[in-house]
């Protein structure tokens, strides 16, 4: 079982339209990647605005705008994943089990039963 070569990659086959020859020109993957970066930057800035807002209506609006921006970031990420432009890697089972053991043992430090 341990010697068996197991697939660690989580990714779709790349189906997005990318030029065969890479040029300095921005391609579709670059555009969507930059769009995602823009949204991610905005969530950082909006988060601070939420935290610092004075009156309640301003706070509520900033919070809702932040949430919608997170949602759009997620949709762009999902679209990139669907097109095969996002590759993820599964952690080794042994490492996950080890971490579970380690953090389970900290239950002696829990103040609440």
């Amino acid at each position: 079982m341990q010697n068996q070569q197991q697939n660690k990659q989580i990714a779709n086959p790349s189906t997005g339209q990318l030029p065969k020859i890479k040029t300095p020109e921005m391609n579709e993957r670059d555009f969507i990647n930059d769009g995602l970066s823009t949204c991610k930057y905005l969530t950082d800035s909006l988060n601070i605005a939420v935290r610092e807002a004075s009156h309640d209506q301003l706070y509520q609006d900033f919070l809702q705008i932040l949430e919608e921006t997170h949602q759009t970031s997620r949709e762009l990420f999902n679209l990139m994943f669907k097109k095969g432009w996002y590759k993820l890697e599964a952690a080794e089972q042994q490492k996950v089990d080890q971490a579970y053991q380690q953090f389970s043992n900290y239950s002696t430090q829990f103040p609440y039963q």
Binding site: D34, T38, S54, F62
Partner: protein
């Protein structure tokens, strides 16, 4: 003593001129502003004098203004960018995602902008002075 008094009146006179108070007075009547109940509540508060404000009044603070301007600048760039990108790509799914994102950012811009349609002077006129009636 007389000289000091004259100096003070002169200074206030200059201040009034620079403030453009008349301009603000006319804005008061034309701008649609927030929650009439707020003012009623604030009025009763002023009468009782003891009740603290439960939450900040809907005035735009200096900090609010900085964050609103910052956020709107980024939203503006974001929706222009998404609209431009939507025109550049052929994949319909990506094009649609870009246009949706662009519309969302424009909507955010407009929502944030509406927070600047506020009459801070009118709101502040009903906010009790924190230094009044305090014994320190």
């Amino acid at each position: 003593m007389d000289q000091v008094f004259q100096g003070l009146t002169r200074a206030t006179g200059v201040d009034k001129g620079n403030d453009g108070k008349e301009g603000n007075g006319s804005l008061f009547t034309t701008l649609p502003f927030i929650d009439i109940n707020f003012f009623v509540k604030e009025k009763t508060m002023q009468i009782s004098q003891q009740t603290p404000m439960p939450s900040p009044p809907p005035a735009i603070t200096t900090k609010d203004l900085s964050y609103l301007k910052d956020a709107m600048s980024w939203e503006l760039l974001a929706f222009k960018k998404f609209h431009f990108y939507a025109q550049q790509v052929n994949d319909l799914e990506i094009k649609q995602a870009f246009e949706q994102a662009g519309q969302m950012h424009q909507n955010h811009y407009q929502r944030l902008l509406s927070h600047l349609q506020v009459n801070n002077d009118a709101i502040m006129a009903n906010v009790p002075n924190p230094n009044q009636g305090q014994q320190h």
